[in-house]
Amino acid sequence: MTLKIHVDMEKCQHYGQCVFDAPTVFRLNEDDKLEYESTADDSERDNIQLAIDICPMQAIKFVE
């Protein structure tokens, strides 16, 4: 199963906390702005959930 991920870029403050929990999905680009994959393999579910929990702005969501 493929997971769909959405980050509310109005909320995201580019703190990069998510990067440590799910580095295959989230990264900061050269301008220190968040970039992310909008889909990921189900094996990444737990890591992405960790990122969702630890995001200070609560900006990350799974899309049904």
């Binding site: 403050q13 580019h14 703190y15 990069g16 906390q17 990067v19 440590f20 900061l28 220190d32 929990d53 630890i54 200070p56 702005m57 609560q58």
Partner: protein, 406 residues
Amino acid sequence: MTNPVVIVGASMGGLRAAETLRKTGYAGELIVIGDEPHAPYNRPPLSKEVLAEHVDHAAVAFPLGEILDDVQWILGDAVVATNLDHHTITLASGRVVDYGTLIIATGLRPRRLDELGRPATGVHAIRTLDDAMALRAELNPGARVVVYGAGFIGCETAATATKLGATVTVVGKGEVPMLRPLGRQLAEDIQRRHEAHGVTFLNNTRIVRILGDDHLTGVELDNGQTLECDVLIEAVGSLPNVEFLEGNDIDIESGIHVNDTLHALHANGEPWANVYAIGDVARFPIPQFDPKTRRVEHWNIPTEMARKVGRQIALEHGDDAEAHAAEMAKEFTPIPSFWSDQFEVSLLAYGLLDQGEDVRLLEGEVGGDCLYGYYRDGKMVGVCGIGMRQKVMSYRNKVGLNFEPE
């Protein structure tokens, strides 16, 4: 074990503990008790964007997943007493709850200065959503605001109030705001950036009296001067919420003392087998730094402690003794991380900056983007930057005293 797991404190720490218990397979009775009327919500925005924009519960509420469907929430009722020998807690409503395992996540409350005078309105602190809503209602354009306390929450609130059109003075007893965690050079730099936005700093200054009967009229300073103001925000530090534990044989000196498995301790240092403390209220060891215990009031800590405690308890209730033993043996080595937004200054830091004796500007420049290292005994104990996020992040796993330099 039939008695429920009871969590006291329905904020981030309590919520993440409940989630972890369920995710790790604990299916028994689970009760979360909080004295605030609200379901768990995110606190950091209270001094930042929420205060600036629109304050209500929906704006900050944590999502509650299905996994929590059969959790029993008791909100708006405080725990007022505990009997750890008999495994009972008593609520303000008079209700008594038995527990099998107790997780304490009661956090901190702002230190208040009632003894200096207490007008009926105009004096505020920020810890809860209700605090932020009450303050927001008085932060009108043109309001004269005094912030007492030049720590992170004080400085963030000063920035937010200025953005809302208030005229803000920060009164602080130190030589520079945020001196202790940040070090002089960076702290002075941030003070200047605040001043460029019109914030006034009165350093080395204390408030000795708060004036006004019905509404606040001003504050009297220790230099004899009186500052007229409409709003006073007390941001002079916090006290751990531990009074409901008094009368038990438990070490609650300056927070609840816990060991490396986050068990609360008797006065003699022996652990209570079924009592844990997590989050801001806990005083715990971070072994990669030193053997001391400390409270760390940063956002990532409640979640990391909650996960460890939740897994330990769930596995203890399961039938895989080996998995439980492995979880108990797993070292708890969280890396404190925090951020702070004040005007265009957006700080990101890892480690324990206040342990640094020697602070060095590693990259960038004063007044612009910059990155500071905090060293003790030649080892990096913290890193903090304005901008330069990726570089700050690259140091995250290198802070601590036990790490040998590469």
